[in-house]
């Protein structure tokens, strides 16, 4: 089976690679880019742990082949904090509200919530729950996560947070 050359911009950095067509984007990120923050929890698109932003949109990294991302731009959980390490408002809120325990599902929540709040900065509680329903967590009972997303929404929509700390949002705008 013929390998394929691809170019993908990952967290702002252009990556060139020759890959087997069957290599998933999640495995490409983990194994070829050494970005192991993208986790595999089910590999059939349900748990959401592998969620990354592809051209700004939250997608399952396990349901996209790396070859399909050729020419695209990917933001992983490693690209969400500011370059100086300052946590994004979403990450900060998860930290302050006990929104994670084992941390395995966390990257998928962070990327999903980052995209969700960018597109819907003032969600209702019901919208928050619906948006979170595509990510599974087995530790927190979702209590801290719901509180974190509420807090992040209230913080960001109040405009009190320096937008420059949100790398992902910047990437998204460029990609649009």
């Amino acid at each position: 089976m013929a390998d394929v050359s691809i170019e993908v911009t990952v967290n702002g950095q252009l990556r060139r690679a020759v890959v087997e067509p069957r290599l998933t984007l999640a495995d490409f990120l983990r194994e070829r880019c050494q970005l192991t923050g993208t986790h595999l929890g089910c590999e059939h698109g349900v748990c959401g742990a592998c969620t990354v932003l592809l051209d700004g949109q939250a997608v399952r990294g396990c349901l996209v082949f790396a070859v399909q991302a050729d020419g695209g731009s990917v933001t992983t959980v490693e690209g969400i904090a500011a370059p100086d390490g300052t946590l994004s408002p979403v990450q900060q809120a998860f930290r302050e509200h006990h929104g994670l325990q084992c941390g395995f599902c966390t990257p998928g929540f962070v990327t999903s919530v980052t995209a969700f709040l960018r597109d819907n900065p003032s969600p209702t509680d019901e919208e928050v729950r619906a948006a979170l329903s595509g990510n599974l967590c087995r530790c927190t009972g979702y209590q801290g996560i719901l509180a974190a997303v509420r807090a992040a929404a209230d913080t960001t929509s109040a405009g009190t947070v320096n937008a420059g700390t949100n790398n992902a949002a910047t990437t998204n705008q460029e990609a649009r």
Binding site: E78, L100, F104, V110, N135, R138, G141, G144
Partner: protein, 782 residues
């Protein structure tokens, strides 16, 4: 919920505060190290060939085609690996117990759909899976024991040598000895309650990387485990090499809940194979394997028999209990299984009770521990109590109020010999009911019923032995080293799987030493540098780490105090340790930092007090004084049931937990909430279902349904700290209780909502189809 800023005073204590977790910065940025994140030079990847049949004779295993695939390094069969086992017993079980069979690879017979028949090792997981498909196994299907409930009379045997498919039986006093309590009772209520098979289902599946160094004959294992030291001891025995030749490294673990408490058969195969391979080998279980083969839990039933006086006073409580242990239970299931009926009398004042227990094999994966492994006792008792309350015409809250033990009745011995102490069950009920406003809910329920809406409230109470303090669990060690810079490193065994053990150790050590929390760091999960500890299990970590850090820090604190008194020319009694400084009472200016003291201890031995050894380091072990710590709780849940679709919507959920003093309330609440939601999943959604032939039908997340953010109510807490534990700090275990209390609270709420239909619920899960079916059977309308 947010981390409260700590008061900047010398008396500040971190224990009791919502200190921010030290784990979070790495986990939020994708910088954690889970086992699948580990890469080694030339690393190989493993995949298992699994039986598609619930039971089959393995006539032949032909590996030629798989071995011929480029990139494949080895294919191991039972012939290659099973003979290498030197010893394979778990420390907690011991070598003397007649453990159930647990061959590395299936030899001769596959005993469940998913049983491991061969191990393929290749250059990538993709290739390993390609090759696994090429392994040609000649199966001759055999009739399977699909239903454990019928296994004792089945013709087929799961394991030869275990007649009637019995793995073991235990019983309390003969039923005749307490027959009077039943014959003289005003009411006797007996129900058989059935719980479905469930899985622990951590979001991170099982996995390990094993690397054998031929030159030094050393094994290094990176493991996703709750107990790194158990993996080390087990691996050393398995391979017949000294314990110090094995190093186990565990950083981040994506949940365990009991599933990762001891090495299982796949781990054993990989450990055995590692010695035959030229490079490290990684096995990461995929989700289908996890749902097919990582073990089942909870699959059991029991007949509860409760006797009451005319006023509802509980007179006797007995349980006849049968549990499915599958084909390869891990670890030995009989001892823990018998705990279920022994705890059955629960937090109630009851003088008579007995039990029987049977552990039964079936052709399904095998029973494994899952958060509150004996939780069925609470389900059986609390569901039967509500059924009894309805039959006797007593409100379920009132029935419990009359029978729950009070703190002033402690110590109290249950009829099955459980030595309750330091527990306040009645208070948990009262506080939980107060948070809910039970009477107001009853009024709301009545109003809703008159409008054709079905609301219900369910209560469940339990008593739980936490922090078992015997055998492998009896002691816990810590090493604390104040480095030459004055920074503090705390070494404990670890085994954190999301339960915040790093934060816990740091909080406790900062308090115990008087250090600023920012100066304290912890190293856990590496057996080469941490003292032995049994890891996460039995709701023990918080209390035992508190003990270990406490005794170790006391030694170091003593040394710091003596050193500071010498340096400051003050009396030891006047030295106070706080904020990483030693100061003289009443003279805050006169002080010396930990950094300065460390400099003396490491680099100026001549400046030490006479006789004091250099360095600032201590190691000590803590031994609990009793056999364990009793915790208890009341869960109260309200719901609405759609009588047409059968859908249950949870409205409110209150936990009144007698949790002792809290080290970190955010961690305590997180543990409770996580357990509650697993319990909700068990009550409403999750089922490791098998068809009548023993084939699994829930092998993906599209069929094994975990609760999501849309199924869970907000959880409210009433922390009851009136009966702190007897060990230092007054802590108790909180890891498992949530999962124990939740299923019966939910079941009782649904049964209460459906009371107008005359429905009795005795089987889980309460899927919409099941609930709608119950309503239909009851006549469809009130």
């Amino acid at each position: 919920m947010s981390a409260a800023p700590l008061p900047d005073t010398a008396a500040a204590r971190y224990a009791g505060s919502r200190v921010r977790r030290v784990e979070d910065a790495r986990l939020l940025t994708g910088a954690g190290t889970f086992v699948d994140d580990v890469t080694r030079p030339g690393m190989l990847h493993a995949s298992f060939v699994r039986s598609p049949h619930p039971r089959a004779r393995i006539a032949r295993v032909d590996t030629a085609a798989a071995l011929a695939l480029p990139g494949v390094h080895a294919v191991f069969t039972a012939d290659d690996l099973n003979g290498d086992v030197v010893e394979a017993w778990y420390t907690g079980t011991g070598s003397m117990v007649p453990d159930t069979p647990r061959p590395p690879l299936a030899a001769g017979e596959a005993r469940f759909a998913g049983d491991i028949v061969a191990l393929v090792v290749a250059g990538s997981r993709y290739l390993a899976e390609d090759a696994a498909e090429l392994v040609d196994v000649g199966y001759e299907p055999l009739p399977a024991v699909a239903d454990y409930a019928a296994a004792r009379t089945a013709e087929a045997l799961v394991h030869e040598g275990y007649a009637a498919n019995l793995a073991g039986e235990l019983a309390g006093a003969p039923a005749e000895t307490i027959a009077d309590a039943y014959t003289s009772a005003a009411h006797v209520v007996s129900e058989t309650i059935w719980e479905q098979a469930q899985g622990a289902v951590p979001l991170e599946t099982r996995g390990l990387v094993a690397e054998w160094s031929r030159g030094s004959r050393e094994l290094t294992v990176w493991a996703g485990t709750q107990a790194p030291h158990e993996v080390r001891m087990f691996a050393a025995r398995l391979l017949g090499i000294p314990e110090h030749s094995v190093r186990v490294i565990t950083r981040d673990v994506g949940g365990g809940f009991g599933q990762k408490v001891v090495p299982m058969r796949e781990d054993i195969c990989v450990l055995l194979a590692a010695r035959k391979l030229p490079a490290a080998v990684k096995w990461i279980e995929d989700r289908r394997e996890n749902l097919m083969a990582a073990g089942t839990a909870r699959h059991e039933h029991g007949t509860a028999r409760l006797a009451f006086g005319a006023d509802g006073t509980l007179r006797a409580a007995s349980l006849d209990h049968v549990q499915d242990v599958g084909a390869y239970p891990t670890p030995w299931p009989v001892g823990t299984g018998a705990a279920t009926p022994m705890i059955f009398p629960g937090p109630y004042r009851v003088s008579a009770g007995t039990f029987t227990h049977a552990s039964v094999f079936s052709n399904t994966p095998g029973r494994v521990a899952y958060r509150g492994p004996w939780a069925f006792e609470t389900l059986a008792r609390e569901v039967t109590l509500d059924i009894a309350a309805r039959r006797m015409g007593i409100d379920p809250a009132e029935l419990r109020r009359r029978n729950l033990l009070r703190r002033d009745e402690m110590p109290y011995s249950s009829p099955t010999g459980m030595p309750y102490d330091h527990m306040d069950p009645l208070e948990t009920l009262e506080q939980a009911l107060a948070v809910l406003d039970y009477d107001a809910f009853r009024a709301e329920q009545a109003a809703a019923r008159s409008r054709g809406r079905y609301l219900g409230v369910g209560i469940s109470c339990y008593a739980e032995p936490t922090t078992p303090a015997f055998g492998v669990y009896a002691t816990e060690g810590a090493t604390i080293r104040i480095e030459p810079s004055g920074k503090v490193n705390v070494y404990v065994a670890g085994g954190s799987t999301g339960n915040s053990l790093e934060t816990t150790a740091v909080q406790l050590a900062a308090d115990a030493l008087g250090a600023d929390i920012a100066d304290v760091h912890t190293i856990q999960g590496d057996t080469a540098v941490t003292p032995f500890g049994a890891g996460t299990g039995g709701s023990r970590s918080g209390s035992m780490i508190a003990g270990a850090v406490g005794v170790t820090a006391a030694e170091l604190r003593d040394k710091l105090t003596k050193l500071a008194a010498h340096k400051l020319e003050a009396s030891e009694a006047d030295i106070e340790l706080a904020r990483s400084r030693a100061a003289v009472k009443g003279d805050p200016e006169a002080g010396v930092s930990f950094a300065e003291l460390a400099d003396i201890a490491y680099f100026q031995p001549y400046a030490l007090p006479p006789g004091m050894s250099p360095g600032l380091e201590a190691s000590a072990r803590y031994a609990a004084t009793g056999m364990g710590l009793w915790a208890c709780a009341t869960h109260v849940c309200t719901c609405e049931v759609d009588s047409m679709t059968g859908k249950v919507t949870l409205l409110r959920y209150v936990v009144g937990e007698d949790c002792g003093h809290m080290i970190n309330p955010a961690v305590v609440e997180g543990q409770i909430a996580g357990g509650v939601v697993q319990g909700i999943g068990g009550a409403l959604l999750e089922e490791l279902a098998y068809d009548a032939d023993g084939n699994p039908v829930a092998t993906t997340f599209m069929d094994y349904l975990l609760p999501t953010a849309t199924e869970v109510p907000l959880i409210e807490y009433a922390h009851v700290e009136t009966a702190p534990g007897p060990e230092p700090g007054g802590y108790k275990g909180v890891g498992e209780g949530g999962a124990i209390g939740a299923p019966p609270a939910v079941v009782n709420a649904v049964a209460d909502a459906l009371a107008p239909f005359g429905v009795t619920i005795t089987r889980l899960p309460l899927s919409p189809a099941v609930v709608a079916g119950l309503i239909d059977e009851a006549g469809g309308s009130q």
